[in-house]
């Protein structure tokens, strides 16, 4: 047993940290105020990140390589791409969560492609920026209730439906769209399709105005008789009612630790800043029992302990993914812990800083707005609790609704 980040990740962490400090933080407020403005600074940065990725996939700092670790299965323990991506994302979100989400070619759609695409598809979609479209106006967490349809017509699928909350939906090159081959067949019939922008019948409806992560555009997209080549379906086109949803849900095992990592990075920014602001009024010696500390010191220690727990839970879930261990439970545990803790910490740090924390002169108030979404997307806190409770109790979704 060794609970330590290996030295080989130090360059990756340092690269991402440098990016966070030198590139993201200085323009953080600018694009928080200028919602829907394209952060042109990110193009240069994305190229730099591509360079990191090309050099060594384990050094990547984006979402694109989750689950894609081509590690040899020789039975030995690996610290691979999933862990690396999480560590990179933490540092990037320590810089700015909105920018990580807006990073060209690092979308969640890329993660989905990496997780389920076949080799031919991997090659064909290489270098493309892929957004992910699951949510619909009448279906959020209940992704099995998707109403968007895909009807086979010759060598095409015809997509119809309305998708909302598509991160980078308008900026990406293509969108991974979840749609049902036959709504009567339930979860098993839900498949994902890569749809290129420019495909007739794909229309941008609007961009949302949001509480936080304003640097990241959130699109609503309509599909009206949109014809997608059949070879753009990810995974198997067969409707296997036994395997059902599992194929699509597998993506979450890789992306939930990633979103946990984002919450951890965002909260780290707040925690570090509040310690800086309070440095004259307290000492951090990790010596006295918390009950013997001042209330504010005790609170900082408690937040730090919760934060650290979330951190290692995320690393654990990523480690399991790297070592091909089933991690659905652990992915949800780390997402639940990081989501709640990240939100609590960022909100509390605003409060502890007083009016300084509440005004736009500091970024604390921004991080407290940004963190909220991290307890919502990729499965809300309550969805994670459901997943965890069902696993632990051995109950089906029919029993524990």
């Amino acid at each position: 047993m060794n609970i330590e980040i290996p030295k080989k990740f130090k360059p990756l962490i340092n690269n991402a940290y440098q990016v966070a400090q030198s590139t993201l933080r200085p323009i953080s407020r600018k694009y928080d105020r200028g919602e829907h403005e394209y952060p042109k600074e990110l193009d240069m940065l994305a190229s730099v990140l591509d360079g990191f990725n090309e050099g060594d996939p384990a050094n990547s700092a984006g979402a694109a390589t989750t689950g894609s670790g081509k590690v040899q299965d020789d039975g030995s323990i690996k610290n691979g791409a999933n862990m690396g991506v999480c560590l990179g994302a933490m540092e990037m979100c320590y810089g700015d969560t909105g920018f990580l989400l807006a990073m060209p070619r690092q979308g969640l759609g890329n993660a989905a492609i990496a997780a389920v695409a076949n080799d031919e598809q991997l090659e064909r979609f290489k270098g493309k920026w892929a957004a992910m479209a699951i949510t619909e106006p009448s279906c959020g967490s209940d992704s099995a209730a998707i109403r968007a349809t895909a009807k086979k017509d010759g060598d095409h699928y015809v997509l119809n439906g309305e998708k909302i909350y598509v991160t980078s939906g308008s900026r990406a090159d293509c969108v991974v769209v979840w749609a049902s081959l036959d709504p009567k067949l339930g979860r098993a019939a839900i498949k994902s399709f890569v749809v290129d922008w420019g495909t007739p019948g794909m229309e941008l409806a609007r961009l949302e105005k949001k509480l936080g992560i304003r640097a990241s555009d959130t699109a609503a997209i309509n599909f009206i008789d949109c014809r997608v080549p059949a070879e753009n379906l990810l995974g198997s086109p067969e409707v296997d009612t036994k395997k059902g949803f599992a194929g699509v849900m597998e993506t979450f095992d890789n992306t939930r630790p990633l979103v946990a990592a984002m919450a951890i990075g965002c909260a780290k920014a707040s925690l570090e800043r509040i310690k800086e602001l309070l440095k004259d009024s307290m000492t951090y010696d990790y010596g006295k029992p918390v009950d013997n500390c001042s209330a504010v010191e005790a609170e900082i220690y408690r937040m730090e302990a919760d934060w650290e727990a979330a951190y290692w839970l995320a690393v654990k879930a990523a480690w399991m993914a790297d070592n091909k261990k089933a991690n659905t439970l652990e992915a949800s545990i780390c997402k639940a812990k990081a989501g709640r803790v990240g939100n609590q910490i960022t909100l509390r740090c605003v409060e502890l800083a007083g009016s300084i924390g509440y005004t736009e002169d500091e970024l604390l108030e921004k991080w407290a707005r940004d963190s909220k979404i991290l307890d919502i997307f990729e499965g809300t806190q309550q969805i994670q609790q459901l997943v965890i409770a069902r696993r632990v109790l051995g109950l089906s979704s029919k029993e524990l609704k």
Binding site: P289, L386, L393
Partner: protein
């Protein structure tokens, strides 16, 4: 709200109770005498006289164990085959013996001699003593000790403490003892009947801080004279060796005190939980120990000594919380209300999800601190964060365990009320153990 007739009657009754009347009819004396007797008998239990420990052939240097060779520069939660073997046998002992005897041991406030004898068959004491001193330890095994504590507490925390306290003393002597201390005391732990032993750090004051001890050790010629009062000392009436933390002129120190020493008296003050550990207060009234019984050889780190105890308590909390989770899952699946198992309801299911989430959180922080300690890295911050999180989450899990069973949970028919009482200890206990 105005005082009504009942209120006036109560006031009058109270006034009567506090008036001279009681004294006139002689009741006051009875009450006072009773209180006096209780206070006096508080410290009437003698400690067990120790066997004669002999230092026959001390080496020049104390034996120290090195960090294990099997760890590599990779994050890795796997354990070694050897650790798995130890866990397997400890787990089955905890399941078959400790869990079975838990209720009785709690009621009698004692871990039975049979249980102690069976625990010895696991050979854990040999793993706490270096090879050259007759034991089987070849490298530092903080993580293994932590896993053993977790697994024993999965059976029963109280008995686990009684079993682990002597191991803690052996671990501390291995890590900090001088060559002479190791030769005299540590080697006895690798004998057929190893001594019972314990660590006394905690003191009976609100907001106790192990770095601010009120027990003192004053140097007087070639001895130290110890005075003060310790609390929650496991096996206090049975131990032959005590490691007692006391304030010296140069900061906190730890002293090896033999059972039966003049002025060393154990008391009787049963606590809310962990009752099977035989924990008692311990009074030191001018207890004289030779200077060479001060623990350490220049490399002694009192902070680490305390933290390794704290981490043992964290590990115990993990084991007991796992018992809570393992118990509430089948209970909530079987217990029906309004026509279906209560686990089908999110109000119940989400409490169980939170237990699973925080139990895993407790594990990660405790494992991290212990794995750093094992490798000889600094771990004060990690132990501090582990304790901070574990004491809160463990108690939450303890209280939710009772809540999930409702009225049943409140009775002795079910074990959750004992776990509730045991888990409160994590925020209170210092010392007693040492990984």
């Amino acid at each position: 709200m105005a005082k009504d007739a009942v209120g006036y009657a109560l006031t009058a009754l109270n006034r009567l109770a506090s008036s001279e009347v009681l004294d006139k009819i002689g009741m006051r004396k009875t009450v006072e005498r009773l209180a006096y007797t209780l206070t006096k008998s508080g410290f009437q239990v003698l400690t067990t006289t120790a066997r004669t420990f002999k230092s026959s052939n001390p080496g020049n240097k104390p034996e120290r164990l090195n960090a294990p060779g099997h760890t590599r520069d990779l994050f890795d939660l796997s354990i070694t085959d050897e650790q798995q073997m130890i866990r397997d046998s400890v787990q089955s002992f905890a399941r078959d013996v400790l869990r079975d005897k838990a209720e009785e041991a709690d009621a009698t406030q004692k871990t039975s001699d049979e249980v102690i004898a069976q625990a010895l068959e696991l050979g854990l004491n040999y793993f706490a003593v270096p090879e050259s001193l007759g034991g089987a330890a070849t490298e530092r095994s903080t993580v293994t000790s932590m896993l053993v504590a977790e697994d024993l507490a999965h059976g029963d925390m109280g008995q686990a403490v009684a079993i682990l306290a002597p191991m803690g003393v052996a671990n501390a002597l291995t890590q900090w003892g001088t060559a002479q201390q190791q030769d005299k005391y540590l080697s006895s732990f690798a004998e057929e009947s190893p001594p019972k032993a314990t660590i006394a750090v905690c003191e009976p004051y609100p907001l106790f801080d192990p770095m601010a001890l009120k027990t003192t050790a004053k140097k007087d010629g070639d001895s130290y004279v110890l005075n003060g009062e310790k609390s929650l000392v496991p096996l206090a009436a049975e131990a032959e060796i005590f490691l007692v933390a006391a304030q010296t002129d140069d900061g906190p120190g730890v002293f090896i005190v033999e059972g039966g020493s003049d002025g060393l008296v154990a008391g009787d003050d049963p606590s809310m939980g962990v009752r099977a550990s035989g924990q008692r207060p311990l009074k030191l009234d001018n207890v004289r120990v030779p200077v060479e019984n001060r623990l350490g050889n220049g490399d002694f780190d009192y902070r680490a000594f305390v933290d390794l105890g704290t981490l043992a308590w964290c590990a115990l909390a993990i084991g007991t919380c796992q018992s809570v989770l393992d118990y509430v899952v089948p209970y909530c699946n079987e217990r029906t209300a309004f026509g279906e198992p209560i686990s089908y309801r999110q109000a119940v299911a989400f409490m169980i999800a939170d237990i699973a989430i925080e139990l895993d959180s407790m594990r990660m922080l405790t494992y991290r601190a212990a794995s750093r300690a094992e490798q000889g890295k600094s771990f004060q911050r990690e132990a501090h964060l582990a304790r901070t999180l574990v004491k809160d989450k463990a108690m939450k899990i303890g209280t939710d365990g009772v809540q999930l069973l409702g009225g049943h949970g409140f009775t002795h028919e079910y074990p959750v009320e004992r776990w509730y009482r045991d888990l409160r200890a994590i925020g209170v206990a210092f010392g007693g153990l040492h990984l």
